[in-house]
Symmetry: C2
Subunit: 340 residues, 2 copies
């Protein structure tokens, strides 16, 4: 979608608000301007990126006290209903909630993005909630970078809790885990035990596992799964900060267990703030962000360079035609880049 945009820039006719307007709009939580700002962050056009950087830089200077929660789970686990109920519960407690979805598949069809938005209807209508389906680029790295920047804007806009939703495919979980304070894994009782081998990495990242759909006839099975998971989690080494991941049962449908889960998160935050881990962790995440941003800039500056843009197609042709090796072509391109 982004690529389409850059090919047809005339599509965005609305004049760009000034930097000051956008900055003030974010601070005042003006939804139109906030959304516009996130769109700029998600844009790949250099002139948009320049503004986006300034917006993020400005947002980073705001003092905020927020909680960033990553929520993952395979399709069918009931993520949207869960997030909707969980989000409503948080706003009822007087906090403002923003939800970002990081769905690698959502870039494929605009339909699914819109579908996503109508999914959480009640939360969309809540004045203290903001839902943003991420119009991701194709690369997961892009989603990551932009999600992180969007979090910053949402925090500056006054959201207390930022929920980043992701689908249980592995790669995006690591990325999201790296930008949140608390990582929650949603599971169903009785589903996919063979799967543990593969999802081990995700289980290891989780601060808590919530067995969702623990309602009606599923209750007993869910309680058993809870015991099993709790036992299994004890086999993992404890987290850096000594936290032992918890397992809870909940039902988004019957709205049970969500309060307890929220209390657990608050207890986690309290503990990890007291120990200094909360801040340390965010600092490490910032260092990681620095590296990611640097690497992204190095690569995008290269491909965006006029002279490289001109000669790259020719080198690519020579490589695909077997006339030169990928190695030799890369060296020649780097040489050219360095000389200019």
């Amino acid at each position: 979608m982004e690529q389409m945009k850059s090919k047809a820039p005339q599509r965005t006719k609305k004049p760009l608000p000034s930097l000051a307007e956008l900055q003030n709009g974010i601070l005042k939580n003006n939804l139109a301007l906030l959304s516009r700002a996130i769109t700029l962050v998600e844009s790949t056009r250099p002139e948009h990126q320049a503004v986006a950087h300034k917006l993020v830089e400005h947002a980073l200077q705001q003092k905020t006290d927020t909680l960033r929660i990553g929520i993952t789970g395979v399709p069918g686990v009931g993520k949207s209903t869960f997030i909707e109920q969980f989000g409503k519960m948080i706003t009822q407690r007087g906090k403002k909630v923003a939800v970002l979805t990081v769905d690698p598949s959502s870039s494929k069809s605009k339909g699914s993005i819109l579908g996503d938005k109508t999914r959480m209807q009640a939360l969309v209508q809540d004045p203290n909630a903001y839902i943003r389906p991420s119009a991701s680029g194709t690369s997961l790295g892009g989603v990551t970078r932009k999600t992180r920047e969007s979090i910053t804007l949402l925090e500056a806009a006054g959201y207390d809790v930022i929920i980043v939703e992701t689908v249980g495919v592995g790669q995006s979980e690591t990325a999201v885990h790296d930008m949140v304070d608390f990582f929650l894994l949603l599971k169903l009782a009785g589903a996919g035990d063979e799967l543990q081998g593969i999802k081990r990495g995700i289980v290891e990242m989780a601060h808590a596992i919530a067995i969702n759909k623990a309602d009606g006839p599923n209750k007993k099975e869910a309680a058993r799964a809870q015991t099993e998971f709790a036992r299994a989690l004890h086999l993992f080494p404890p987290k850096e900060n000594g936290w032992v991941p918890k397992v809870v049962c909940c039902s988004a449908l019957e709205n049970t267990g969500l309060d307890a889960l929220w209390e657990m998160m608050l207890a986690y935050v309290k503990d990890s703030k007291a120990s200094g881990y909360f801040t340390d962790n965010r600092s490490q995440q910032n260092a990681h962000w620095l590296h990611q941003h640097l690497e992204h800039r190095l690569v995008s500056d290269f491909y965006g360079h006029k002279s490289i843009k001109t000669v790259l197609p020719q080198y690519l042709r020579e490589v695909t035609e077997g006339k030169t090796s990928p190695f030799a072509a890369a060296e020649a391109l780097l040489q050219r880049y360095r000389e200019e």
Copy 2:
């Protein structure tokens, strides 16, 4: 391990053979020199990398006619027994086989690498087979790049079939799929049907699925799984080249079904060479390789730059202490890099 090496360079006492010796050694399939060359490819030390690039460049100039096969499957599916039997069958047909394992976990303990080697004892002793457990770096990107380069050396050394083994975790499959001609997924009957949702991406990449361990009492179940998978695969869009992925049953233990699988691969190669797809696909893979190599070089040149090495720790400290933002720090570093 590589990092340890670079901290204690005195560990590698053996003098480095000359470039010409290594190049000739590869062409003559001198195993000691070939192994040494692959070790250079896998090394992160700049002086090793310089030699490695020349070796790969030289190897790329050799005309070869090879088949690159990617084999994946979750732990427990019987990959090593399968590869051993499959490899032996190929050497019995007068072809030379090289096996590269891309196991992200293998970097953790030297034990598992050695364990890997003894795993395929009969194949190791086969004079027409070469097994190389990849002493991977920690980053998957590194594994990819180095595996690709190692393939080139093995092909120049005269191996007709290169098998790249990987574990079914998702990310490495995409990387390996991107450097082979044929991608084979090993499965077990009856295991992990819930898993299809997650592994869909891998299933989509496969040119064939082999239901392994189709022996003894498992035979019936395997045949049923074969029918089911074949039906399911028909629901995916056909591959670019019109190939409809096949499902076969085999038993590495009883040595059944492997011949048929090999014949199928040969038929695939024949077809896709006739249509031009085989060459087109390799060309595209080379273009992708160019990009990967470029991006790697851009980033590693930056971090390897003297002045960046000197000031980076200070910027990282400022970022983690919250004195500057990741953005501002990155821009300052890039500015400095550009000026020098």
